[in-house]
Symmetry: C2
Subunit: 280 residues, 2 copies
């Protein structure tokens, strides 16, 4: 289930007397995966801007390269904006560092490898690679998804500030399948288990035929900055066999980010000889 | 050799009385691969804006998510800008469609597979995947490069409007190695050969130990919208053996884009039985 569109709305627009900058940014917001091409009329209507204002802003954005004209009178997001945006450390930068480990996961499992970060109450997928015959997934690179049903989302939420956890658990639950866990108490216990074991295992939570095994990626300060997962066919693979693979990949990416991956980094499970804790 | 920075400058800034929009965009331009984190002082200095104006613009961009604060008083490109920019059809959209073919090229060759588009007088790399042991390359996803020394650049230039070709050949040549072809007449003949044969083969043009074999990707209207290449160790692989692989990948990506890949699409070479024309 995709995160509600409203989670993308930050402060700074919609308020009284928006600045020119925020109006230009509002033009960019009109574009969506379901609407990658927009006419000037679309843009004026969806931003609520007068047509002349929209025309001027679109002209400026197009001259700079933030928008491009298609051949048929429409506008689309421009390559130059993508070039600049690719400098986002949590976007392409993270992806480039993680690509070797993600490729290895796909190569070894034949399934999906995903890398994601948290943006407020959503997962944002930074990369997704799929092996031939991998279980179909609903996610999309640069797309958002709800936190609680996904492996990467539970890892990210388990390590988020308590205030974020409370908001995520008090909102309307994201139900994707009849098996999706929506009870706040059960989810709270699941998050505690993620912190205790160092991995999240989600069976049938997003689609009935898939299982996600996810582990945290640490940044240089030791905080959890991303999560990596394998999403595989439920029933065809024993999830516990994926745990060491995903953990090793997460440690490799953490190391590439400059994290200290000494044994005690992710808590007692890694240090204890009885490391094979029971995962739900 | 990276394309000169000046090719990134479009009209609409630097002129008298820049608009607020263009000033906000100028803030984004301050970020570069070599400078992914900037302080407010950096931003004011590089944009030429007064500190108070820079402070206000940076605040607005940060509230929206186009910029993010790092932990140490710096700013970086924000994840939300990357999310929106990922809707660029020539960026992530193209990459997603092409990923299976690129993966296959890497899997089969063990070398680099690249996908690129042209932006004025530069190549922009949309994707780059590397096999283990692939020859090192100088390119970067979302990075720019000169057109004439690269296989993808020659393919894109060969199919560009004559005015673009003339500007590319009349500017200062991009010399990367002692073997880089810089003579406009020789380059003009090389472009004609690319049009005739349907592929570009560049040996030792970017690095002395690499060979690039590139082919055009067609859009729904039949125009060349991108180029795909394999960059391999020069001397370890016979470039002609890569030609069919790269052409098949280019056709697969073209088909995924909605192009008609009937036999006559790319000219006489494909239709003629004597398709194995001599490539330089």
């Amino acid at each position: 289930m995709a995160a509600p569109r409203t989670t993308r709305e930050g402060p700074g627009h919609g308020a009284a007397s928006p600045s020119v900058t925020s109006r230009a940014l509002r033009v960019l917001e009109v574009f969506a995966p379901s609407a990658p091409v927009r006419t000037l009329t679309d843009i004026a209507r969806h931003t609520g801007l007068p047509l002349t204002t929209a025309h001027r802003l679109v002209g400026e954005l197009t001259r700079w390269g933030a928008l491009e004209r298609d051949g048929e009178g429409g506008y689309r997001i421009g390559l130059r904006l993508w070039e600049v945006a690719s400098l986002a450390p949590r976007g392409l930068g993270l992806r480039e560092l993680a690509l070797p480990q993600l490729s290895d996961l796909v190569h070894v499992t034949g399934e999906n490898a995903q890398l994601a970060v948290r943006e407020d109450l959503s997962v944002v997928y930074v990369e997704r690679l799929a092996g031939r015959g991998a279980v179909p997934v609903l996610t999309r690179v640069a797309g958002r998804f709800a936190l609680t049903p996904t492996g990467v989302g539970r890892v990210l939420l388990a390590h988020a500030p308590p205030e974020v956890q409370e908001r995520a658990l008090s909102g309307p639950p994201a139900r994707c399948t009849p098996r999706t866990e929506c009870d706040p108490g059960a989810l709270r216990r699941a998050l505690a288990e993620v912190r205790r074991t160092g991995v999240a295992i989600c069976e049938g939570q997003v689609t009935l035929d898939s299982v996600s095994v996810a582990a945290p990626v640490h940044g240089p300060e030791g905080t959890v900055v991303a999560a990596v997962s394998v999403v595989a066919h439920l029933g065809r693979v024993e999830p516990h066999t994926l745990v060491p693979l995903v953990r090793v990949a997460a440690r490799g990416i953490s190391r590439a980010l400059g994290a200290d991956t000494a044994p005690d980094l992710t808590g007692p499970v890694r240090a204890a000889p009885s490391g094979s804790a029971t995962h739900r």
